[in-house]
């Protein structure tokens, strides 16, 4: 991932700023296109993050261990833990 983007929240905040700047300001064309490119990059980042998480159901037990939940809880076909 692009090292200049910290996380979704900062990405979306930057994207918002860019869009507002583009909409408000009468920027030179070069600057506009530069911002546009950055904006596209940011929105791609956000979308990729949205798809990144994977479906998982886990159980945190008394000993602080995280294990896959029994299949009955909607986890994928994992081994039953109880």
């Amino acid at each position: 991932m692009d090292p200049t983007i910290k996380d979704f929240e900062s990405a979306i905040a930057e994207l918002e700023t860019i869009v507002r700047t583009l909409e408000d300001g009468d920027l030179p064309l070069e600057k506009s296109l530069e911002l546009y490119e950055r904006g596209v990059q940011l929105s791609r980042f956000c979308h990729s993050k949205l798809e990144e998480a994977e479906r998982r159901v886990e159980i945190l037990n008394e000993r602080g261990e995280v294990k896959a939940a029994p299949a009955s809880f909607g986890a994928d076909e994992d081994e039953r833990t109880r």
């Binding site: 583009l22 064309l29 506009s32 993050k49 998982r56 939940a69 909607g74």
Partner: protein, 471 residues
């Protein structure tokens, strides 16, 4: 016991032998008597609490509720007016054991006395209820319910922590909603008891444990519906404080919509049901998606608009006279420049090639020359020059000789000696520094010298005569 109440009807019997004159027998009207009774009842008892079982309970259309309170030996009619009914936390039903708080009253038309209830409290739960109210007030005073404390849910939860029982319907409801709406959800469930002894401390430990799992950025504390006793763990102070201390925002989802617990007040968000809690988490993500899409849309639109505006300006400019065809001209210029560059480069290349060719030829010539041949050549040239010079000198001498001969002859003819030989003489002054050319140059007795062609004569001037004039 209030004396007035009992003294009135039995006065006659208890004081038959009163020494005072027999009081005038007063006859009350029913209304008067009833009014008197009401006065006595109301003033005597004031606000009272009565414990008993509810029976014959009816809620009228007016909103007032009528019932009977009874115990093993007696019963009393009771009424609760609409305003008080509205404040009841539970639905009053026959068979419930309650403590009623109210005042005694008399219903004149029927001659009945009854208790007018302000409040009903289920017996056995009163202490809890009181605890609830007390804790609520205490935490509120501390600012734990302050809206400013409420944290927003993450736009895109990485891991959703869940504190609940694995046996209840709550967890299944949550998973079902998430599966339907947010297929990528990552859940971390910390199973706990949610009711009974030790449930509260279980919940506290679960909240703390989930807070330590990396990536958990929202926590749902859930429990399905139940009686107020069943939900009680969520009304305990330690649970409230653990929720407040949780680093991730907490959604409380306890019981049904109508059930409120202390946890609901402290939580960052209260969900009416566990399913609703899951919906809230998902909605935050949906909102996030929509926000990105809207932003991306605006990004494209505004940029396209900007480019089009520029293009329009360029078109307008190129349409103007004087600027018409500037693009073509610019292109021509560009091509011209390119051609010039090309020509220049070609010329430079050619020049360089020629120069290096020259250099090569020079070097060849330099190397091919034989030094000795050049020397003999020089010598030959020197010899020839020498010979030429010699003959030239010879010729030059002959010429000089001839010139000399004629010059000598001419010199001979010009020599004064030759003239003297013919009889002429030269007269000099005494020291022979000047020739005397005029008679006036000497005076009598001056010495003069006369040169002849073969010698000198020393003379003294006796007289001077000028030709043509007498002196």
């Amino acid at each position: 016991m209030p004396s007035d109440f009992f003294s009135l009807p039995f006065e006659e019997d208890r004081k038959p032998a009163s020494t005072s004159p027999a009081p005038e027998r007063r006859v009350f009207s029913v209304s008067e008597l009833t009014a008197a009774i009401r006065g006595v009842l109301e003033s005597t008892f004031g606000e009272i609490r009565v414990e008993g079982e509810i029976s014959n309970c009816r809620l009228w259309n007016t909103g007032h509720m009528y019932f009977t309170l009874k115990d093993g030996g007696a019963q009393i009619k009771a009424v609760m007016f609409r305003s008080a009914v509205r404040n009841l936390r539970f639905k009053a039903e026959d068979g419930q054991h309650v403590v009623a708080r109210g005042r005694l009253g008399v219903y004149d038309p029927k001659g009945e006395y009854q208790i007018v209830c302000e409040h009903l409290e289920p017996r056995g739960l009163g202490a809890l209820q009181l605890a609830f109210e007390q804790l609520k007030q205490k935490l509120q005073a501390e600012g734990l319910f302050d809206p400013a404390r409420k944290r927003p849910l993450p736009s895109l939860p990485r891991k959703i922590g869940i504190v609940t029982s694995l046996d209840g319907a709550a967890i299944r409801d949550i998973i079902q909603v998430l599966r339907r709406r947010h297929p990528n959800a990552h859940l971390v469930i910390r199973p706990t008891r949610v009711q009974g002894e030790g449930a509260a401390s279980d919940i506290v430990r679960a909240l703390r444990a989930l807070a330590r799992v990396p990536g958990v950025d929202v926590v749902i504390a859930a429990r399905g519906g139940g009686s107020i006793e069943d939900l009680w763990a969520f009304n305990e102070e330690m649970v409230a404080r653990a929720i407040a201390a949780c680093p991730a925002p907490v959604i409380s989802a306890v019981g049904h919509e109508v059930d409120f617990t202390i946890a609901d007040f402290v939580a960052d968000l209260r969900a009416p049901t566990p399913s609703a809690a899951a919906e809230m988490v998902v909605t935050a993500k949906d909102d996030f998606c929509a926000r990105i899409d809207r932003l991306a849309q605006r990004l494209h639109t505004t940029t396209r608009a900007q480019v089009q505006r520029r293009r329009a300006i360029v078109h307008a400019l190129s349409a103007r006279r004087g600027l018409a065809g500037w693009q073509a001209r610019l292109a021509m210029r560009g091509r011209h420049a390119a051609e010039l560059t090309h020509t220049l480069r070609r010329a430079a290349t050619a020049l360089l090639a020629a120069r290096s060719r020259d250099l090569r030829a020079l070097r060849l010539r330099l190397e091919s020359r034989d030094l000795r041949r050049r020397l003999s050549d020089i010598r030959g040239r020197l010899g020839a020059a020498d010979a030429r010079m010699h003959s030239a000198a010879e010729r030059s001498r002959h010429r000089a000789d001839a010139r000399f001969g004629s010059a000598a002859a001419r010199l001979e003819s010009l020599s004064p000696l030759a003239v003297l030989a013919r009889g002429y003489a030269v007269c000099w002054n005494a020291d022979r520094t000047a020739i005397i050319r005029t008679a006036d140059a000497v005076a009598p007795a001056d010495r003069v010298q006369v040169t002849l062609h073969d010698g000198e004569i020393q003379c003294i001037v006796e007289e001077t005569h000028r030709h043509g004039s007498n002196h």
